[in-house]
Symmetry: C2
Subunit: 120 residues, 2 copies
DNA sequence: AAAAGTGTTATATAAAATATATAACACCCT
DNA sequence: AGGGTGTTATATATTTTATATAACACTTTT
């Protein structure tokens, strides 16, 4: 899996990377137990600093998507994280609010959900 | 409608306010054409700086949720904003990726969508 | 055993984003 | 005339983001 940073985006680099890794795990480009690239190699490959990659990995660890040991960052999704679901639902509410106001109807949203789930 | 800032949150104040206003518009606590509180009054009410409220209003204007004139910020949703839908869908993909990995099944997501749409 | 590769920590620096504070301006409405 | 709009300008402080070097303890490979 190749990750890519949009240097013109207003989204923080570590955040772009973090989201791309979550997408990669969800779409099974990375499987449970698989080791992500080392911070040094990945930072060279995508052209950002080692510490920025490390920050993405650290956040992924804190949010329960990877486990980090001496071998590197290992995909290890931890379903049981108390506040996670509530947080996701709150964010979902805001996105749907934006979607409705932008004219995305309920049926369209359901279709969208199905399309995305089919990818995963 | 009373807005509230969580001063302990790591989310920017203007962002919290922006999202709450979008939710208020979606749930029809504010109707098309209605005038939002003035930047000065709202800033006093919720305890943040005038310019921070102004930034929220400016972003809301740029994203097509309000129109700003001499009377103040007026709710005016502009459906036709080219890249908006794509942006929303991209964000939705990430949230659903997180949701699936946290064990939220497709059916649960559909139920969630319906629940939120019913509020709107 | 030596070398190379892990994440991690520390220190430093620079730029950008966030938030506040004062002040003033043009405009509108009573 | 006075008080209410958003807006603009300037200034300052803090936090976040990103980079750069360097070193450390540990593991894996050679």
């Amino acid at each position: 899996m190749i990750f890519e940073i949009d240097f013109n985006s207003d989204e923080a680099f570590y955040m772009q990377l973090k989201n791309q890794i979550i997408l990669a795990i969800a779409t099974r480009s990375y499987l449970e137990g698989e080791v992500l690239p080392s911070v040094r190699k990945l930072s060279e490959d995508i052209g950002i600093n080692m510490h920025t990659v490390n920050k993405a990995y650290t956040v992924l660890k804190d949010e329960g998507f990877v486990r980090v040991d001496r071998r590197g960052a290992v995909v290890a999704v931890d379903i049981n994280k108390a506040e996670d679901k509530k947080l996701i639902i709150d964010e979902l509410k805001i996105i749907i609010a934006r979607a409705t106001l932008k004219g995305i109807k309920r049926e369209e949203m359901h279709a969208l959900i199905d399309a995305i789930y089919d990818e995963y």
